[in-house]
């Protein structure tokens, strides 16, 4: 918008980069919500994600190439994701296979299945009709308007998850992840909960894969590699920033985390160290994202930060606890008098 002014080319690239980082962050926010369901709610680190993301892209891609309506294609990608999650869930619950291993097994099996679906390793869909066409035709893609649209979509998915977690089903799901023996003793079919939770999670991930394939104009066999790290980074970063006092805050934090994560990657990419002529390349992204997750996991445990945080929390909790204890002591002394 300021391109006519000399010297503002830098600003233009910065703005374009920001917009694309936001767009990506919001699209991947849906996947991060899926990872939140398994990693935080079910306490099940599900590695199926790397495979089911690509499955979503592959299913949507091949259908779109064959002229299927892109919305229908995205919906069928959801179904494929649900199926992938169900398989991991059954491997774990019926097969009693360790969670990490169950996820990895499905993930590696999906690699072959994804290749079968696409027929080749890369499936371009550049001139096909996609769900982004309405925005593209209006020239909105890559502008703040598309960021707004994607933000609304991400907010809708977040609201859906928050609603779901507030139902009887959602409470049962959360109890299953929080204290499984308790959930079972309260009549929750914990195995069924795990299977459904994993299915939903991978359904979201596959929808995200389908969306991403349409956004970038191709599906690729490698598009899902390392995505579990991106998902975990979003969950951990976002919840480190906003906390998880309630389901609303925790779920919102996940999407915010996804945007922050993309912004950090974008910033790293534009980083230049002139003296040694060093610049990150796109291929360094996996390394950067792994380091980012490690930092997000370790920094909160670093003593100075821990001290700062605990001081803040202590103050809050002390007040609550003091009030609580005073109350309980009062009741107990009365109970003793009984």
């Amino acid at each position: 918008m300021l391109s006519w002014l000399p010297g503002f080319e830098g600003f233009i690239t910065f703005e374009a980069n920001t917009v694309s980082a936001l767009e990506l962050g919001l699209i991947f926010g849906v996947m991060a919500l899926g990872v939140y369901l398994t990693f935080r709610i079910l306490d099940f680190p599900d590695l199926t994600v790397d495979g089911s993301f690509t499955t979503g892209g592959a299913v949507a891609g091949i259908l779109i190439v064959h002229g299927v309506n892109p919305w229908v294609a995205t919906l069928l990608a959801l179904v494929a994701g649900l199926a992938a999650g169900t398989i991991t869930g059954l491997l774990h619950t019926v097969g009693k296979i360790n969670p990490l291993l169950a996820g990895i097994l499905t993930q590696i099996a999906l690699y072959s299945i994804n290749l079968r679906i696409m027929g080749k390793a890369n499936l371009p869909m550049l001139r096909e009709v996609t769900i982004f066409d309405p925005m593209r035709n209006l020239g909105l893609l890559g502008t703040w308007a598309s960021v707004l649209v994607l933000a609304v979509v991400a907010a809708l998915f977040t609201a859906l998850i928050v609603w779901l977690l507030g139902t009887n089903f959602g409470l049962a799901l959360r109890a299953t992840g929080d204290n499984e023996p308790m959930a079972r003793s309260q009549g929750v079919a914990t195995n069924r909960m795990k299977v459904i939770g994993l299915a939903l999670s991978n359904g979201l991930v596959a929808v995200c894969g389908a969306t991403m394939a349409q956004y970038q104009g191709f599906a690729d066999i490698g598009m899902g590699i390392g995505l579990i790290v991106a998902g975990l980074a979003s969950v951990i970063l976002g919840q480190a920033l906003l906390g998880r006092r309630s389901v609303v805050i925790a779920a919102t934090a996940v999407v915010v985390g996804s945007v922050v994560y993309r912004a950090v990657l974008q910033a790293a990419l534009s980083l230049e160290i002139p003296v040694i002529n060093f610049k990150f390349e796109a291929n360094d992204m996996k390394l950067i994202s792994a380091v980012l997750v490690i930092l997000a996991l370790l920094l909160p445990r670093w003593t100075p930060i821990r001290r700062m945080r605990s001081r803040r929390r202590e103050k809050r909790e002390e007040q609550a606890q003091a009030a609580l204890r005073a109350e309980e002591e009062g009741r107990l002394s009365r109970a003793g008098a009984h």
């Binding site: 009887n168 089903f169 929080d178 204290n179 079972r184 909790e317 609580l324």
Partner: protein
């Protein structure tokens, strides 16, 4: 009504570690019966409760609740009829869920987990009223995470969760053992009140002789996987803890668990 017929449970069968935890136990609790169970370590008390709850399936024998044979019924299905409070105060509640969310899960015990709201205004009012009976002030902290509560408060909440949707059978597994004496007395009192209020058929394991005498209308002594002595309501009322210990020694051949308490 709870009827156990000739229950046997063997752990690690056909190995050197084979252990017969229950050896042909038969017992019948009429509706509203409250039986306390004492016994030495490894007598099979907890195993017995786990068999009733459905966590363990017995090798032999049947479990019937209200004349329905539930021996093969899965634990989460049986939860519609059976509820329990564990010894560990952390075991019966979900720490990252709030007080009302935990209660909502217990409220749904025996019903389907559909897409209806977990917490409605009506349910919240009901929870508030029920929490008031605990006299712990928890009714004012419905939105607090359960992990923030003390062990005694969590155990009181577990007890409420196990009783307010009336189960056919209530199982208490040394549920006051991990608490300090004051809180233990509080939970004992709340237990007696809840069982009385809902007229629950109850099976309570305890290592506290005095508690075994104070609570309930029947007393069972277990030893080496079987019930070796039964004390009825009248005899129980007249008995002191010393006399019970004496009887216990005679019935079990002198073995007394080092955790067994004569008094509080």
């Amino acid at each position: 009504m709870l009827e156990l017929t000739d229950i046997s449970k063997v752990f690690f069968p056909h190995t050197v570690n084979e252990r017969r935890a229950l050896d042909g136990v038969s017992v019948r609790l009429a509706s509203g019966d409250f039986a306390t169970v004492i016994g030495s370590n490894g007598a099979g008390k907890s195993t017995l409760l786990n068999v009733v709850a459905g966590r363990y399936t017995p090798e032999k024998g049947t479990v019937a609740i209200d004349d329905h044979d539930v021996t093969a019924m899965a634990e989460h299905r049986r939860a519609a009829m059976v509820s329990r409070v564990f010894q560990d105060p952390m075991a019966g509640t979900a720490p990252h869920l709030t007080i009302e969310e935990n209660l909502a899960i217990a409220y749904q015990r025996g019903r389907s987990h559909g897409l209806g709201r977990g917490i409605t205004r009506a349910k919240r009012e009901f929870f508030r009223t029920e929490l008031t009976t605990l006299e712990l002030g928890l009714e004012n902290r419905l939105g607090a995470k359960v992990g923030m509560l003390s062990g005694g408060q969590r155990q009181a909440l577990s007890l409420l969760m196990a009783t307010f949707v009336e189960p056919r059978v209530l199982l208490l597994d040394e549920h006051t053992a991990a608490l300090d004496p004051t809180r233990s007395a509080l939970i004992s009192r709340l237990t007696a009140e809840a069982v009385e209020r809902h007229r629950l058929t109850t099976l309570m394991v305890t290592h506290n002789m005095q508690q075994a005498l104070d609570l309930g209308n029947r007393l069972l002594v277990m030893h080496e996987g079987n019930i070796v002595l039964e004390v009825d309501a009248a005899a129980k009322q007249a008995m002191t803890a010393d006399q019970l210990l004496d009887q216990f020694r005679r019935a079990t051949g002198g073995e007394v668990s080092d955790r067994t308490l004569l008094t509080e």
